[in-house]
């Protein structure tokens, strides 16, 4: 899917407009009447012949064709809020913008000799409240835009093709910003967080230690900076092998002591860097080099350890799960973790498919992330000060087979084994739902199925 919008945007629910309703368009024309009579940034479309009733509005494109072609530079995309605006004084009224916009987002009126487009009413679009059927809503992504504006990630990538770690680190460094020290260990992320390859780096200071020492080193760093009165955020970045197995004791200790740093675990469900061995977070049935599939063995025989829940049981200020198919959700969680870090320990568990170790196509990691969410294999949730909340509920979950068929480490699973995996997914979700009942709430429901 092409990303067209990186600022607040109007969302129009498909196929839910009332026939012959022009409320949005009329309200827009009323609000903007001084520009020219009848101008409207939003257009209601009614075609009874094909029973279609909807509305069209500017996408506030990331690379607006209208702005690129404007002969006087009158159309610009704001670097602050991402809104694409027309400077009336500079507008020729030539109409080239309407000739190149593929989405019907900009309108040209020859009589008024003016172009007109939606400017989101500078953040409070009037069409939203004008709609009698709640079809139009404003999606707020301003924070994302602002944080994504600066890239703290140097060029070049030294990861395996298709590995989502680059995007994870890129987002992490963009959202958390400069005053960050990363603490890590030899692992999949090493090629970038150690800066082993010339030109591939995250432009942040990094402290490298052994798997058994990551949280304790972070503890030392955090306390040192607090002592000298500097607000520096320390962020541990390790895989699941370090977090759940080798470095679990110091992690649990740091969580229990409520140390004021952020721990981000990227979960690729095993020791992918050292040769695809199983870890305690490898799921039931998965083939690894130490849980092979043969005459006697059928992949891993036990279910994965649910590390984020274990950390949540330490009653720390913030725990969340996240993945790259839902970047906005991930960004929000990083921002919350940063906020809660001031009170104590914050932990984010990032689902991170491994194209090499899992046997997935290098162009489908994000698709695998999305399917993990849509099947509830990897539910997105957070626990903020002990209150559990599903941040993204799935209206009609896909069966687990939709997920496992994308991944070769599951290809040997029989119907019965798949049913067992499905059962685990169901009971995990049920367990989470129980937790949300203790003062929690459910997030925005999604039509994804």
């Amino acid at each position: 899917m092409r990303v067209k919008t990186l600022c607040d945007a109007i969302k129009i629910e498909e196929g839910e407009c009332l026939p012959d309703c022009y409320a949005c368009q009329e309200r827009c024309a009323e609000v903007k009447q001084e520009i020219y009579p009848g101008c409207a940034g939003i257009k209601a479309i009614h075609i009874p012949e094909v029973n279609s009733h909807t509305a069209v509005i500017c996408n506030q494109c990331r690379e607006p064709a209208c702005a690129e072609v404007c002969p006087t530079g009158a159309i610009t995309k704001s670097e602050v809020d991402g809104i694409v605006r027309i400077d009336e004084a500079k507008c020729l009224g030539c109409g080239l913008c309407a000739l190149v916009c593929p989405y019907g987002g900009i309108h040209y009126d020859a009589e008024a000799k003016k172009a007109f487009k939606c400017d989101l009413c500078d953040g409070d679009p009037q069409c939203v409240s004008a709609c009698p059927n709640d079809v139009i809503s404003l999606i707020k992504v301003r924070t994302v835009w602002q944080y994504l504006h600066e890239d703290k990630f140097a060029g070049g990538v030294a990861f395996c093709a298709g590995c989502p770690l680059e995007l994870t680190l890129r987002i992490l460094s963009k959202v958390l910003g400069r005053k960050t020290i990363l603490v890590g260990t030899p692992s999949c992320s090493a090629p970038i967080i150690h800066g082993q390859n010339i030109g591939t780096w995250h432009r942040l200071p990094y402290y490298g230690c052994l798997m058994t020492g990551v949280p304790s080193s972070a503890t030392g760093l955090t306390r040192y900076y607090r002592k000298i009165g500097k607000d520096v955020r320390v962020v541990c970045f390790t895989g699941d092998g370090c977090a759940a197995d080798v470095g679990f004791q110091p992690l649990s200790g740091a969580a229990e002591r409520n140390e004021k740093f952020i721990y981000v675990c990227y979960d690729n469900e095993g020791y992918m860097n050292t040769g695809i061995q199983r870890s305690s977070t490898t799921p039931f049935g998965a083939a690894t080099t130490t849980t092979p599939v043969g005459v006697a063995a059928r992949g891993k025989g036990t279910p994965a350890k649910n590390l984020p829940l274990i950390i949540a049981m330490h009653r720390v200020p913030y725990v969340a799960t996240a993945t790259l198919s839902h970047i906005e959700d991930f960004v929000k969680k990083l921002l919350k973790a940063e906020e809660r870090r001031k009170e104590g320990f914050a932990y984010i568990h990032v689902f991170s498919p491994c194209p090499v170790g899992w046997g997935i196509e290098s162009d489908s990691s994000i698709q695998v992330c999305r399917m993990a969410v849509r099947t509830n294999y990897f539910p997105l949730w957070e626990a903020e000060r002990g209150r559990f909340r599903l941040t993204h509920t799935i209206a009609t979950p896909r069966p687990i087979t939709e997920y496992t068929k994308l991944i070769r480490k599951f290809r040997h699973l029989t119907k019965e084994e798949l049913a067992q995996l499905q059962e685990e997914v169901n009971s995990n979700l049920a367990f989470l739902r129980h937790l949300t009942e203790f003062g929690g709430e459910e997030g925005t429901s999604s039509a994804e199925g």
């Binding site: 899917m1 092409r2 257009k43 479309i45 009614h46 075609i47 012949e49 094909v50 279609s52 909807t54 069209v56 064709a65 690129e68 072609v69 404007c70 002969p71 006087t72 530079g73 004084a89 500079k90 020729l92 009224g93 030539c94 109409g95 080239l96 913008c97 309407a98 000739l99 190149v100 916009c101 593929p102 989405y103 019907g104 900009i106 309108h107 040209y108 020859a110 009589e111 000799k113 060029g155």
Partner: protein, 418 residues
């Protein structure tokens, strides 16, 4: 590997678009633009609007004053390129200096065609800022202006001069106007609408055979035998790619500089974009010149990507344009006349006001023309470019072009993201 040096000839839409793209892709290479003009970047598309006084001279500048500093690029103004040595990758300037490059973008644009006989008699051109300034000097105490030529610039300029209060007429050498965008019938609609607003258009004058300047104006004689006596003649007969300095460099030229889909010339490390380029078109892939602003922007973007090592291909240009005059709007996207086997639907009025024409080929849209019709031309452009299947909705589209084109676009977008 050290930093590359990209040199660009020109600082119009194509070069600016290439520069922007190079920076967007994260390249920190050296970029230098050289322009023959003395001004900061402006678009010639805004010149008619200066004539009509719709905007002020201070408003035509496309970029901020410190734009090139922001982009970490250098702009050299008022310098012409004399020749290119592609062997040693060197450029020679009119001031005797030379410059080297690793990658060269030729985005020198186009130049007007001016018959020598008219030039001698003091006819004016209207192509760049200096022409506008020169024109305003001449307009001071003269009122009667004749525009020679029937392209888009001629008509836009005629409209602008009329709005400024001058007595204007347009003389077309041949039997049609705006041939690149509109067929004869649509052309006659436009001629009628122009006539109603005080811009008479006269056809079939032929070439100028004689011209003579006298104290108050110019007299000219045409191949058709017709004679003209007016204060000012502005020749807008046509434009051709500005390529004189390319001769002898080994870079292949037909009408313009020939390029492939990645905007590369036959010489490695030399790229071209915009009015000067003869690039593949959308329908056939054959090379041709398409001197319009959206094409320059797009080609510049493709060239910029390829100059820093990305492999990006151009989907090919489509003829398209939009003409607004006295509150009317004529728009053309894609082909204006059908080929054999095409299906054409036309809806028009007796009173010659609204006009709609769409051309279908194998169930897909290949061209559309509209006069004073409520439709978003860009959406029509999308339907052609994405080769959206219109077959079941052919009649519906011409009946309600705006709503139906938007709906088809939404439908096609949904298909492409699912």
């Amino acid at each position: 590997m050290g930093k590359h040096k990209h040199l660009m000839i020109g600082c119009g839409a194509a070069a600016l678009s290439a520069l922007k793209q190079i920076r967007k892709l994260g390249s920190e290479d050296e970029v230098k633009l050289v322009t023959m003009e003395d001004y900061l970047p402006y678009s010639p598309a805004s010149l008619p609007y200066l004539v009509s006084r719709r905007i002020k001279e201070s408003d035509v500048q496309v970029t901020d004053d410190d734009y090139f500093d922001q982009m970490k690029a250098t702009l050299i103004r008022g310098r012409r390129v004399i020749s290119i040595d592609t062997q040693s990758q060197k450029l020679y300037y009119d001031n005797g200096e030379s410059d080297t490059y690793d990658t060269l973008l030729i985005a020198s644009g186009s130049e007007p065609v001016m018959p020598p006989v008219l030039k001698k008699a003091g006819a004016l051109e209207f192509h760049i800022m200096d022409d506008y300034i020169n024109l305003t000097k001449h307009l001071k105490n003269r009122t009667k202006v004749t525009i020679l030529g029937a392209g888009l610039v001629s008509i836009e300029l005629a409209v602008a001069l009329r709005e400024r209060g001058h007595e204007v007429s347009v003389i077309a050498p041949r039997e049609r106007i705006l041939r690149r965008y509109f067929d004869g019938e649509v052309g006659s609609y436009i001629i009628d609408l122009l006539g109603e607003s005080g811009v008479p258009v006269s056809l079939n004058w032929g070439e100028v055979v004689e011209a003579r300047r006298y104290r108050d104006g110019i007299q000219a004689k045409f191949a058709s035998g017709k004679r003209l006596d007016t204060h000012i003649i502005i020749a807008c007969i046509g434009v051709k790619p500005r390529v004189s300095f390319v001769d002898g460099s080994g870079i292949m030229i037909n009408q313009g500089i020939l390029v492939d889909k990645r905007m590369r010339t036959n010489i490695p490390s030399v790229f071209t974009a915009g009015d000067v380029a003869e690039a593949p078109d959308f329908f056939t892939g054959n090379n041709g010149v398409n001197p319009i602003l959206p094409t320059a922007v797009r080609q510049g973007k493709i060239a910029g990507s390829n100059m820093v090592g990305e492999e990006v291909e151009y989907e090919g240009w489509l003829p398209m344009n939009t003409l607004n005059f006295f509150g009317h709007l004529a728009t053309s996207v894609g082909e204006s006349t059908p080929s054999k086997g095409d299906e054409v639907l036309i809806e028009k009025e007796e009173k010659k006001r609204h006009y709609k024409k769409v051309i279908y080929r194998d169930g897909k849209l290949v061209g559309a023309t509209f006069i004073d019709t409520d439709v978003d031309a860009g959406v029509i452009h999308y339907l052609i470019k994405e080769r959206v299947d219109i077959d079941p909705y052919k009649d519906l589209l011409i009946k309600k072009p705006k709503d139906v084109s938007l709906w088809l676009m939404l439908k096609a977008e949904k298909k492409s993201i699912s």
